[in-house]
Symmetry: C2
Subunit: 373 residues, 2 copies
C-alpha cells in the first residue's frame, strides 16, 4: 500500500493507496471524532488539503452506532468525504475512562460516557466494528497504559497487546474474506518509556505482519527527550516498506522530529481543539488570539498564511467573535489551524523531494520558536 517516492536521510516522501484513493505522506490526519472534524465541513477539509481523516471508533460505536454507519455505506459516505478514512480501535478512549473501564485478557469492559450503559470490546469486536464503519485503515485493539507506569504493568500491556494483535488479525482476515472489502490493518507498538519493552513490542508486532505499524503510548506525558528516544529505537525495528504511524502526535516541532526518523503518518486533535479555546498555530508560533492585546489588531492571524481566513479577517474580528462566543470564531480559527498543519506537511514533503528536509526544519523552527506575533 505504501509507495516510497524518495528519501532524504531517514525521512521519506511517499504515497499510500487505499480503496478511497491515495494520500501523500508524511500525512497529518485531522481527527473527526464523531464523523466530523469539529467546526469544519468536509469541503473545508478538502480546501485545507487534508487527504485522510480519522474517526474515533469508541464515539462512532456509541453514536450513531456502527450498524447504522454500515447501512449508510460507511464512514466516508456518511460524512460526505470521498477520500480515505482511518479509525482507531477505541482502546485509547476506553482506557482513558479509567474509573469506568475494566480490562481482562479477553478485552475491556467500559461504561458509555453518554448513558452509563455497559459495553465490552474484545479484540474481535473492535475489528468487527471498524469493518462495519468501513474505514480504509483500521487499528488493532491495544492496551494503552498511562504515564508514568511501573515496568511490570507496562510489560503486561505489551504482552496483552501482542495477544490481542493476533486475534485482531485473525478476525480482520475473516471479515475481509466475508465482505471482500480492501481494508488495511495496522499493529501498535506499546512499551511506555522502557527501551526493552519497546523492543519486545516492536518484535511482537512486526512478526505478525500487519499492513502498517504504529507507535502508540507516546505524547502521553513523558518528556520530549523520552519521546524522541523511544521513537528512535522503535522505528529502527519497523519494516521500511510499510507505513509507520506515530499516534496522537502532535505539535509542529514533534512532527518535524518524527519525520526526521521516518514517520509517515500523524493524527492529533491539537489544531482544532486549541482553536476552539482561542489559540491558533502560526508560522511565528502559537497565537492566543482571544487575548485583549489583539482587540484592535488589523493583521490576519498569520500574515504569512495563504488560507482564506487570513486573506479576509483580522485578529481584531476573530478576537471579538471569540469573546462573544460566536460559532463563527470556532469555524474560522479551526479552519486556519487545519490549513496551517496541512501546509506544514506539504512543505515537509516538498523539502524531502528536494533533499533539504533538515534545513527546512531548522528554518521553520527558527521562525516558529523565535517569531513574534
Amino acid at each position: 500500500m505504501l509507495n516510497i517516492l524518495t528519501n532524504d536521510g531517514k525521512s521519506r516522501r511517499g504515497e499510500i493507496t487505499s480503496s478511497h484513493g491515495r494520500f501523500q505522506t508524511p500525512a497529518f490526519m485531522p481527527v473527526g471524532t464523531s464523523g466530523a472534524v469539529k467546526a469544519l465541513t468536509s469541503e473545508d477539509l478538502e480546501q485545507c488539503g487534508a487527504e485522510i481523516i480519522l474517526g474515533n471508533t469508541y464515539h462512532l460505536y456509541l453514536r450513531p452506532g456502527a450498524e447504522l454507519i454500515k447501512k449508510l455505506g460507511g464512514l466516508a459516505k456518511f460524512a460526505g468525504w470521498n477520500k480515505p478514512t482511518i479509525t482507531d480501535s477505541g482502546g485509547f478512549q476506553v482506557f482513558s475512562l479509567k474509573e469506568i473501564s475494566k480490562v481482562t485478557d479477553d478485552g475491556v469492559e467500559f461504561k458509555s460516557h453518554f448513558d452509563g450503559s455497559t459495553h465490552f470490546f474484545t479484540p474481535e469486536k473492535a475489528i468487527q466494528i471498524q469493518h462495519d464503519i468501513k474505514a480504509d485503515i483500521i487499528m488493532q485493539l491495544d492496551e494503552c497504559v498511562p504515564y508514568p507506569t511501573e515496568e511490570s504493568a507496562a510489560s503486561s500491556a505489551v504482552k496483552r497487546t501482542y495477544q490481542w494483535g493476533k486475534r485482531c488479525l485473525e478476525e480482520h482476515r475473516r471479515q475481509s474474506a466475508e465482505s471482500n472489502a480492501k481494508v488495511s490493518i495496522f499493529g501498535i507498538v506499546q512499551g511506555s518509556v522502557y527501551s526493552n519493552l519497546r523492543r519486545q513490542s516492536a518484535e511482537h508486532i512486526v512478526s505478525l505482519g500487519f499492513d502498517g505499524n504504529a507507535i502508540g503510548g507516546l505524547s502521553v506525558g513523558e518528556s520530549k527527550n523520552e519521546m524522541e528516544e523511544m521513537l528512535a529505537l522503535t522505528i529502527e525495528l519497523l519494516p521500511k516498506n510499510k507505513p509507520r504511524y506515530l499516534m496522537g502526535v502532535g505539535y509542529p516541532e514533534d512532527i518535524l522530529m518524527a519525520v526526521s526518523y521516518g514517520i509517515d503518518m500523524f493524527d492529533c486533535v491539537l489544531p482544532t481543539r486549541n482553536a476552539r479555546t482561542g489559540n491558533v498555530f502560526t508560522s511565528a508560533g502559537p497565537l492566543v488570539y482571544r487575548n485583549a492585546e489583539f482587540a484592535g489588531d488589523e493583521r490576519p492571524l498569520d500574515p504569512g498564511c495563504d488560507c482564506k481566513v487570513c486573506q479576509r479577517y483580522s485578529r481584531a474580528y476573530l478576537r471579538h467573535l471569540y469573546n462573544q462566543s460566536e460559532i463563527t470564531a470556532m469555524v474560522l480559527s479551526s479552519y486556519h489551524s487545519t490549513f496551517f498543519y496541512q501546509k506544514l506537511m506539504k512543505d515537509i514533503r516538498q523539502s524531502i523531494v528536494e533533499k533539504r528536509f533538515d534545513s527546512f526544519r531548522k528554518v521553520f523552527l527558527n521562525k516558529y520558536e523565535q517569531g513574534e506575533n
Copy 2:
C-alpha cells in the same frame, strides 16, 4: 437610491444602490447580530447569494464598541464583508430588556446584559453610533411597544417616534456633513394594531422625508390577519419611489404576502436561529431534522435544493451531528436555511420580472404547506 426595474401588480423588482455597491430587491437581509451571522462566514453568505447583512447596534455598541469598529474601518471591513450593511437603531433590543430599561421623551436608559452597566440612548446617540459603525443604511430610534398594548400607550409611542425621527434626521445630517459619508437613513412607522395610529405614524414619518421607510412593530405576537391588515393600510401611505422595509419578518409565507403589497426589504433571525435548534426550512415546509425519524434517512435536507449542503450530506448525518452537539451541524444547517431564503428571494424577483408573482406564490405555498418531508 431605489431603482424600480419592474412591477407585477403591487409587487416590485428593484435595485438599491449604496456606497458598498448595489443589492437586488425584494431582498432578505440575514442578521449578523454581533458582526457575524451565527455559524456562518462572510464567504458562506456570499455563496448563499446574500447581498446585504444587518448588524444590531445594541450588541455592536456594547461589544466590541462603535469606536473600535470605526477605527477598524466600519462594519463591512471589520467583518470581511465587502458588500452593503444595515444597522437597526438598537431600540428594538433595548425595549425588549423591559425590566432593565426606562424610557423618557429624551431617550431610553438601559443596562447592559453583559455586565449590568448603565447606558442611555438618545435619538442623537443612536445615530452617532450607527455613523461610527459605518453602515450603508441606518435606522431612526423608534419606540417599540409590545403586543398587545393599550391604544393610549401605542399612541404615545407613535408621537415619541415622530419626535425622535426629527431629531435623528437632524443628527444624521450633521454627521453626514462632518464625515462626508454617503449613508441612507430610514424612518420607522409604529402604531401597533390600531389603524388610526398606523395612519398617523405613516403621515408623520413620510412628512420627514427619510431615504426609505420601514414598518416596525409587526410580527411581535399579533395574528397573521392583523399583521396583513396593518401592512396593507400602512404601505399605501408610503412613497412608491423609496425603499419599503418590513422589519423582523419572517416566515416564507409572510414574506410572500408582504411582497404582494410591495415590500422591498426584510430581515429576520429565523433561518439561522431555527437551524441551530434542529429545524430547517425546505421547499416542502419546515423539517425538524433532529428528530429520530431521520436517523437513517439518506435524503438531503431538501431534495429539491441546489445548495452545497444538500449536494453532499444526508439527513442522517445532520441529525447525528446535531445530537452530538457538533458545531458542524450548526454550520451546515444554517448554511442550508440561509441559502433557502436567498433562493426564495431570487425566485420571487424572477417571478416579478416575468409578471407571474401570484402564480409563483401559489405554487410555492402549495408545496410548502402540503409537502411531505
